[in-house]
Amino acid sequence: MNRINALLHDLHDSEAGLAGLLLHVADRHRADHEVFHVARDLAGWSADHLRELTRIGHERGLDLDPEPPDPDTLLAKVRQRTGDLLGRRSEVGLVLLVDLREVHVRAAGVSVDWVMLGQVAQSLRDQELLDLTSRCHPETLRQLRWANATIKVSASQILIG
């Protein structure tokens, strides 16, 4: 596998991981409605990135899984139900902070992967990869900022309240 394909492969895995994590966090915090809805929206962005990576990877001889994690599995429903049931307990706030921290770290990882891909694409003047990076990377940065902003909004109420 050449270096670019290796990068595409890693990026595919990291985006898939982020999409899965966002869905997991959404379901677990279903009682926190904005977290639930926005995290699912953001998982959709990663799902789009996955499809694009798969398409480009395929043209370059890579066999990647285009299917993002399914947001509506039975397990997801169970998690949502549990999220609802535990939503009245104050401890769930601490879990939220831990989860958002993890989203932040994971999204930062994805972002760095895009930076590397972008740098390589630029050096090789690979326009297709450059376009892909300029479409997807800004969304990763927005995912990152969302996690940061949500922590900022929630932290004091959770840690003091």
């Binding site: 009682a31 926190d32 409605h33 904005e34 809805h37 926005v38 699912r40 929206d41 953001l42 959709g44 939503g87 009245r88 307990r89 104050s90 769930v92 706030g93 927005r142 995912q143 900022r145 969302w146 940061n148 902003a149 949500t150 900022k152 909004v153 004091s156 109420q157 959770i158 003091i160 309240g161």
Partner: protein, 777 residues
């Protein structure tokens, strides 16, 4: 037979042509047997039952309100009044007004005296403050309070208690207006004026059924339509409203797709170069980004998403692109729907692209839903910092700290203010210990009511309600404080085109009821809130003193009230600042990084834009053309829930009918809930007018008789006004009635909101509708 003004809410035509002054027509309604000659006094006031800000006078005879008439010289209504104003005043005399404080003892609300009620409230709040800190206390205010009361709450909560948890019920109606203005212009404040109606050649109403929400403004438009050289109307609304019937073009998009439609309209403007490039280059940033974003939003693609004919989208763009003087208004059809802020911002973009701002007829009005919504936003009773100050700008915090004479650290500014829905969440998980609710009724007006009731009922949450009547919410409170209302207290408020009115006390409130300001000042005294020098934080005792404190706070800010005194207001309504008809003439915006109210947000995630980022994007304080991608709503029709539910308003009622349900003519005009269905759906399912239908979503069930009406196929409409105070259920659906089904539309709505404006979505739920067999009503 119904009163003529019930049958015709807009009254007789007084046609006029472009650029002419709108003729005067004075409307009057007096109690039976009272003539204008026999009235003792006429007291200046303005309407508190919608956001139009119609100026009026209250007729007083023998210490009692006996009627109203419009103020003929006022710039807003030129004498006219709508049905809610002509009849709504009678609610002041309703025999079920609260006249004594109530306190919960052994599970029951019982009468008590003011001393007991207020000391209970103050001790509870003080105890929470000492043991759990300011973050354990929340205030939920209202677009019904006067400016003086809203500002007092803002000072008490932000400067005194130091809690970030303050919001108004304007969150439900006008939060998106404020946010959209901040996103585009860096600062809240309506650019346009109602006088733009007099000059416009095209008037576009985006999700704004003005015929129901602001009858007098609709009369103004009808008068233009009846005169020479009438404007052409573009109406975007899934219902065939009176506006749609008068429109040159009516687009009825699928609920939840407004942003797609707007992007396609902008796509067409740019594709045909119906753009004022000189204006865009000189006064805006972000054009390239916007052009890129709307490039793929072709009319054909939008037509598919929105369920429209692509030809109509092209015609709409032509209408907007060919306008010489375009006036646009936006309201709940956009604000309470999916991608609310992003869609509303595109209407701002439309005006920026066309360079149509700050000139006669080129008006942009992000409308308000409530009479004093503007003040909630200006004073900070919606959580923002007073006078459009920026929580993320340390200089603004320092200014405010100096005005209030408190340490800057007292004023919560570590993050964006807590919006209402998040406050309810904090109450749900127990981190909020007290909720102080003034003049609003969340137990009917918030989404997913079974959840809201279960939150308000918790033992661990101390709920104070200040209101006129024992509303559904008051029934769930721990302490209920009887308030005085319109006509019984003095104060100012500001309408959707920045017109400030003084509304003076005409009569005494009933029993022991007190003005909201008086109650709040009493609370502040009891909490012993102090400045950093140890003096009392709040020094005013009268409405005029409160207003003067606000004038000082607003000085130099966009909403500068310093030139608008009580004295000046006694002659009639004045627009801030200092009678300025339109903001942003010559593209002079208040968006400079040091001046702006907000650095904006990511419209899709709600994450605030960092100050450094804003500074590099917009160093010179131009208007911002903010682009946003369409994505489908969260709740789409499915096999189980195949239809879409939107909720809305009746011309005869305000909010949860607390007042209008107690005015006989208004109550008789719209006594109970109904559901509007399209003729196509009625034919397909065998529904006729009056058939009882059961509407179900995953949140609940409502029973309502059908009204076959002009509405988009696949969409049903429920008015949201109807709760339970005048039913056997009291605060909730009666379990004995229809298997516990309710009549409040919000039994059905989802807990979901626009991430940028935090306004709940009332217009994108998926639902199932079935006929209840064998029942006729």
């Amino acid at each position: 037979m119904a009163h003529p003004r019930i049958a015709d809410p807009w009254g007789a035509r007084t046609p006029y042509g472009p650029g002419e002054p709108w003729p005067v027509r004075v409307d009057q309604q007096l109690a039976d047997g009272v003539t204008a000659d026999s009235v003792d006094r006429w007291v200046p006031a303005a309407s508190l039952l919608h956001s139009n800000g119609d100026a009026m006078e209250i007729a007083v005879k023998e210490g009692r309100i006996v009627g109203v008439r419009g103020r003929h010289g006022d710039r807003v209504n030129r004498g006219r009044l709508g049905p809610k104003d002509l009849f709504g005043w009678q609610a002041n005399h309703s025999p079920d007004r609260l006249t004594r404080p109530l306190i919960r003892r052994d599970g029951q609300l019982v009468e008590t005296d003011w001393e007991t009620a207020m000391s209970t409230v103050a001790e509870h709040l003080r105890d929470l403050l000492d043991t759990r800190g300011p973050g354990s206390i929340g205030f939920y205010t209202s677009g019904q309070l006067f400016l003086e009361e809203s500002y007092t709450i803002a000072v008490l909560a932000h400067g005194g208690i130091g809690t970030p948890h303050v919001d108004g019920n304007t969150r439900l109606c006008t939060a998106t207006a404020g946010e959209a203005l901040k996103e585009s212009f860096g600062c809240d404040g309506q650019p346009g004026s109602y006088e733009d109606i007099d000059h416009a050649d095209v008037i576009a109403l985006f999700g704004h059924n003005v015929a129901a929400t602001q009858t007098v403004l609709w009369s103004r438009i009808l008068d233009r339509l009846a005169g020479p050289n009438p404007p052409r109307i573009l109406c975007v609304d899934p219902r065939r409203t009176p506006v749609a019937e008068h429109a040159a073009l009516h687009l009825a998009p699928r609920p939840g797709t407004n942003l797609m439609l707007m992007n396609a309209l902008l796509h067409e403007l740019i594709a045909h170069d119906w753009v004022d490039r000189t204006y865009v280059d000189a006064h805006t940033v972000g054009f390239d980004e916007l052009r890129k974003q709307v490039a793929s939003a072709t009319p054909d693609r939008a037509a598919e998403v929105c369920g429209l004919d692509p030809i109509d989208i092209r015609r709409a763009a032509e209408l907007l692109g060919g306008a010489e003087r375009l006036t646009s208004t936006v309201l709940q059809g956009f604000y309470q729907s999916h991608r609310a802020t992003a869609a509303a911002v595109q209407v701002n973009n439309l005006h920026l692209l066309r360079g149509m701002l700050g000139r006669p007829g080129c008006g942009m009005l992000q409308m308000n839903g409530q009479p004093t919504a503007e003040n909630t936003r200006e004073t900070g009773a919606n959580g923002d910092l007073p006078a459009f100050r920026n929580w993320a700008n340390d200089q603004h915090i320092a200014e405010l700290a100096e005005i209030w004479n408190v340490e800057p650290q007292r004023i919560p500014h570590q993050g964006p203010p807590t919006h209402l829905m998040q406050m309810m969440r904090y109450a749900e998980n127990g981190s909020l210990g007290a909720l102080y609710i003034t003049a609003t009724n969340p137990a009917v007006s918030l989404p997913e009511l079974h959840r809201i009731r279960s939150i308000l009922e918790q033992e661990r949450l101390f709920v104070v309600v200040q209101d006129l009547f024992l509303t559904e919410t008051a029934q769930l409170a721990d302490v209920v404080l009887p308030g005085a209302t319109w006509g019984e207290k003095t104060g100012t408020f500001t309408n959707a085109d920045r017109t400030v009115h003084l509304c003076e006390k005409a009569v005494e409130p009933p029993g022991e009821a007190r003005a909201d300001l008086e109650i709040l000042l009493d609370l502040a005294r009891r909490l012993d809130l102090r400045t950093k020098d140890g003096g009392p934080l709040i020094t005013w005792t009268t409405p005029e003193e409160a207003y003067e404190a606000w004038q000082r706070c607003s000085a130099g800010r966009p909403c500068d009230y310093t030139a608008i005194t009580y004295e000046r207001l006694r002659a009639g309504g004045v627009q801030w600042p200092d009678g300025t008809p339109r903001l942003y003439a010559d593209g002079a915006f208040r968006a400079h990084p040091d001046d702006c109210e907000s650095y904006g947000k990511d419209l899709e995630t709600g994450a605030p834009v960092e100050p450094v980022e804003y500074r590099s994007l917009n160093p010179d304080g131009k208007a911002i053309l903010k682009a946003a991608a369409y994505r489908p709503p969260h709740e789409m029709p499915s096999e189980d829930y195949p239809m879409q539910l939107i909720t809305g308003r009746s011309v005869y009622h305000f909010h949860t009918r607390t007042k209008t349900g107690r005015a006989p003519e208004l109550q008789a005009a719209a006594p109970d809930v109904w559901i509007e269905v399209s003729a196509a759906d009625a034919a397909a399912h065998g529904w006729s007018d009056g058939d009882l239908l059961r509407v179900t979503t995953p949140r609940g069930t409502v029973l309502a008789p059908a009204r076959v009406a002009g509405i988009r196929e696949g969409v049903v409409f429920l008015p949201f006004h109807y709760g339970y105070w005048d039913t056997s259920g009291g605060s909730r659906p009666d379990p004995a009635y229809g298997d516990g089904a309710g009549r409040a539309a919000n039994e059905l709505t989802a807990t979901d909101w626009d991430p940028a404006s935090k306004q709940p979505l009332f217009k994108t739920a998926a639902c199932a509708v079935t006929k209840v067999e064998g029942v006729a009503r």
